[in-house]
């Protein structure tokens, strides 16, 4: 009954089982690999332009504080972290300003501008920083971090470019 070209019933079943099994295996296996490895290819969205206020609200010559909050989402967990800094406009030119982070480079306490002594002081270990952010006294290992990228949009809002790296995590 079975010629040389004909496939036997047994072999047909074997081949069919193999093919269907393979399809199911690939159908579950490939998505499973994507499911496991997707976090590796997820884009880091921590960087953004943050509006910190109208340009007019920052007077020339006086370090003026600002603050903002960034929300990070890891999976289903949200973490809100607040950041702050000081804007020092050196002249009316919107490009001529120094924006410092108020996070102390020692242990991340928040430094305050002392207008009488004209220094930033850290409440934790009495560190002092100059108007330019340089370390004057105390334990900090490096000057205050700067927001080097900033811009003023058409509605005269001041925006700073925020990235986690700059803020030391």
């Amino acid at each position: 009954m079975s010629g040389s070209n004909q496939i036997s019933r047994r072999d047909f079943i074997k081949v069919t089982t193999g093919i269907i099994g393979g399809i199911i295996g690939i159908g579950v296996g490939v998505p499973a690999v994507g499911y496991l490895l997707q976090p590796a290819f997820r884009k880091n969205t921590a960087e953004a332009w943050i509006p910190i206020g109208k340009l007019d609200s920052f007077p020339v010559g006086v370090p003026t504080p600002f603050s903002f909050t960034r929300t990070k989402i890891n999976g289903w967990e949200k973490t809100a972290t607040s950041y702050g800094g000081y804007v020092l406009r050196k002249s009316e030119d919107p490009q001529d300003m120094l924006i410092l982070s108020s996070r102390c480079t020692h242990l991340s306490c928040r430094v305050n501008w002392n207008p009488d002594a004209k220094v930033y002081t850290c409440p934790c270990h009495d560190a002092k920083f100059s108007e330019e952010g340089a370390v004057l006294a105390g334990p900090p290992p490096r000057p205050l971090d700067r927001f080097t990228q900033f811009k003023v949009d058409e509605e005269s809002n001041l925006l700073i470019f925020f990235s986690e790296k700059q803020q030391g995590g």
Partner: protein, 219 residues
């Protein structure tokens, strides 16, 4: 070359003999109803595989269980597929195992010398239902919460020892984080271990005795 490697391995593992005993064993006249056991085994493996993948993201705590599943469904690549297979596979497995039992009953395949196969099969059915019961709570949504409240109360209605059964199931007098974590433990470790062990014996017995033929007028 490959032939040589195969022969070397076969000589030590006895693959040929294993293949003959497991997959090439003689059968009575083929019948689709005889495939339900294999279908149950397939579903068990599928549930095991998808379940293992779900534990990558699922978190068995009241604070995170619901959110982590929402994340699997909406935030993870193919999370909806992995969970969907696990969800529907669970229902299908209970169904297939149950029909498998009905088939064995109707064809009287539980008789000598297969009584033990049947008894172990009963254990497998109960373990499968146990998987369904414990897995139902894990999404930690309203339905899961109240279904488990009611089901554990049913356990609590047993005379005299009901109170102890209820507290053993819940890990305390109330449905709480303790309930969730012990249901999770039962769902991914204890019951699967029992299932895997019983499946091993069940399969051994089937291979040992072969499948029964369907009864005819002579029987």
């Amino acid at each position: 070359m490959w032939q040589k490697i195969y022969l070397w391995i076969d000589e030590r593992l006895g693959l040929e003999a294993m293949y003959k005993a497991v997959l090439d064993r003689p059968e009575p006249k083929g019948n689709w109803w005889n495939t339900l056991g294999s279908a149950s085994l397939f579903l068990f493996i599928l549930q095991g595989a998808t379940g293992i993948f779900l534990t990558v993201y699922y978190t068995p705590s009241p604070d995170h269980a619901y959110d982590s599943i929402q994340y699997i469904m909406n935030g993870v690549a193919f999370g909806w597929l992995i969970r969907g297979i696990h969800h529907w596979g669970a229902t299908l497995m209970v169904l297939v195992v149950f029909i498998h039992m009905l088939r064995v009953f109707v064809t009287a395949s539980f008789k000598y010398p297969r009584e033990l196969t049947w008894l172990i099969g009963v254990g497998l059915l109960l373990a499968t239902l146990g998987m369904g019961f414990t897995g139902y709570l894990l999404p930690w949504n309203q339905r899961a919460y109240w279904a488990t409240t009611v089901a554990t109360q049913i356990g609590g209605s047993v005379p005299f020892i009901g109170k102890y059964i209820l507290q053993a199931l819940r890990g305390g007098p109330d449905l709480s984080a303790l309930t969730l974590s012990r249901f999770f433990s039962a769902h991914i470790w204890m019951i699967p271990a029992v299932l895997a062990g019983l499946i091993g014996v069940h399969l051994y017995l089937i291979i040992r005795h072969g499948e029964s033929h369907f009864p005819d007028k002579e029987d």
